[in-house]
């Protein structure tokens, strides 16, 4: 009877049975020619969605048909885009092809925008590529901005006041603004209240732009307006670097919540009525689950994020729709990061393969690592391991696991760049 002990089953399935498991080369998609057992449509080919698509094909040995719908022709990485802003990296190195997902993994990659999903009939509708029926839907569309959180951040203002928080044309445009900034000018970065994509990202950005100023425009300033009470990630490490290296450049103001902006005079106003004027404004509005997630009906936490069953990552609002990445209402201490979205993608793929195999999906472990560059060479990290808690029904950080760097180091700077190269390949290769 030991065979049916739930713990024993968990080990056999989610975690164990490795001795019996022979390595399967990624290219050996055994089901070639066979009728697929079902079709999964994935919306969004970022760190979450593309990973889910690849691992669905890998773990099902090609038995599950996967359609991956993405509006961009190419993958553009948000991680490392701060290095582009600082002039430490070429933008082209952050852009990657979906070719291997098509050719190597047999995924149908569709370049189109999803206009609607009929969750009753299980059909995804797109603007220019027709409709796709699904047995399971994986939703990984990221976030959208709530521009209404800042008065005056209208379409006209958005032409000159950038967020550059989704890598792409805005990354290049902000880089241009920084290049055009005369020495002695002020760059203003405003951070919204958490949760938002990439918790350490703004502090990395401030550090890297300060590093650029230090070398090329030493009289320029970085003014950080943070709606949060304090630096919300790697606080001591960032503060220590700023104190040692950027004391004359970075000014940090916590509890400074931007509620209005005037693009013409480049002025922002806080909740308390304080005003700040800068030469380059880089304003991040509040964030929420992408609009398509709202339309599909999975956004059920504070009208902002999507709640899921943490074993399958299936929406608690709409059956057969799995949600991952930034769109999620995150588990405690689980950041909205590309690394985490990749781990969500694997958890979803595992759950769906188990469901299609007629087995009961088991909770899996997830881990996070966020590296941040602090100048052209050195970096710091934060990491954590998350294990599903059967009573609380949510992944929690394993006690004693995780932590941060001792100090910024060149060695971790090298690992940061290796991390990017490797995860891009894990997601797309």
């Amino acid at each position: 009877m030991n065979k049916f002990n739930p713990e024993r089953r968990r080990l056999l399935q989610g975690i164990g049975a490795s001795a019996a498991f022979a390595a399967v080369p990624g290219t050996a998609l055994a089901a070639k020619g066979k009728k697929p057992v079902g079709r999964v449509v994935v919306i969004g080919a970022g760190f979450g969605g593309a990973t889910a698509a690849k691992y669905l094909r890998k773990w099902s040995h090609g038995a599950i048909e996967v359609v991956l719908i993405e509006r961009q022709k190419e993958f553009i990485s948000c991680p490392t885009s701060n290095e582009v802003l600082a002039g430490h990296r070429k933008f082209e190195t952050t852009v990657h092809s979906y070719y291997n997902l098509k050719k190597h993994w047999g995924i149908k990659v569709v370049t189109a925008s999803v206009t609607d999903v009929d969750t009753e009939k299980r059909v995804v509708k797109t603007d220019k590529a027709g409709d796709f029926s699904y047995d399971r839907l994986v939703l990984s569309p990221g976030f959208d901005f709530n521009y209404d959180s800042i008065a005056g951040y209208d379409e006209k203002a958005r032409e000159t006041v950038l967020h550059a928080w989704k890598a792409g044309p805005q990354t290049l445009a902000l880089r241009k603004q920084l290049e055009d900034l005369p020495d002695g000018g002020t760059y203003v970065l405003s951070i919204p209240k958490a949760p938002y994509r990439c918790p350490p990202g703004p502090y990395e950005r401030a550090s890297l732009i300060a590093s650029y100023f230090k070398e090329h425009k030493p009289k320029s300033k970085v003014l950080v307006l943070d709606a949060n009470d304090k630096i919300i990630s790697k606080e001591k490490l960032f503060l220590s670097v700023w104190e040692k290296d950027y004391k004359e450049i970075i000014e940090y103001r916590p509890k400074w919540n931007v509620v209005a902006l005037d693009a013409a005079s480049r002025t922002v106003t806080s909740e308390l009525g304080e005003k700040v004027t800068g030469d380059v404004l880089n304003i991040l509005p509040q964030q929420r689950a992408a609009d398509i997630a709202r339309k599909i009906g999975v956004v059920n936490v504070n009208d902002r994020w999507a709640e899921v069953n943490w074993i399958t990552l299936e929406s608690t609002a709409v059956p057969k729709v799995h949600v991952l990445g930034d769109t999620l209402s995150a588990a405690p201490l689980m950041p909205k990061s590309g690394h985490m979205a990749n781990q969500h993608g694997k958890a979803v793929a595992a759950a769906i393969v188990e469901i299609f195999s007629g087995r009961e999906p088991q909770p899996t472990l997830m881990a996070n690592t966020c590296y941040s560059m602090v100048d052209g060479k050195r970096a710091i990290h934060v990491d954590s391991v998350h294990r599903y808690h059967p009573e609380k029904k949510v992944p929690l950080v394993v006690e004693g696991s995780g932590g941060v760097s001792k100090e910024a180091s060149v060695e971790e700077g090298i690992y940061t760049r290796a991390w990017a190269t490797t995860i891009w390949k894990d997601v797309l290769g």
Binding site: M1, F4, L11, G14, I15, G16, A17, S18, A19, A20, F21, A23, V24, G26, A30, A31, K34, V37, Y55, W59, S60, H61, A63, I64, H339, N342, Q343, K346, A347, A350, V353, S357, G358, R359, T364, L365, M366, A367, T369, H381, D383, V385, H386, R387, S401, G402, G403, S405, S409, E411, I414, Y415, R417, A418, W419, T422, I423, K425, D426, G429
Partner: protein
């Protein structure tokens, strides 16, 4: 309750074996959590970047090193923190899995 769940489980297991066999789906699931390592060490542990690949390494060595990271006796920038998230049994499974990747 318990008596009733057993036949259900049996039925599920029986049908799943049939399903997987007919479809080409693997009959035995891999240790999915081993893919946690892929973000930094490459898919199936294969990488040539500065963060070393771990595919095809000696099983005993992998297990020993991961346990040393976990106990804090082997210096690291990050692995001493991540290894603490896994049980010894899971570490043995990881070592076994990556040692088999060629």
């Amino acid at each position: 309750m318990k008596i009733r769940t057993i036949p259900l489980t049996l039925a599920l297991l029986a049908s799943s074996a049939g399903l997987a066999q007919a479809s080409g789906l693997p009959q035995t699931p891999p240790p999915y959590f081993a893919a946690n390592c892929a973000n930094c060490h490459g898919t199936d542990g294969k990488s040539t970047a500065a963060i070393p690949g771990i595919a095809g390494k000696d099983k005993d060595w992998l297990e020993e090193v991961l346990k040393a990271y976990k106990q804090g006796t082997r210096p690291a920038t990050i692995m001493h923190q991540l290894a603490k998230g896994y049980t010894d049994e899971e570490i043995a499974i990881l070592a076994d899995y990556f040692s088999r990747q060629k």
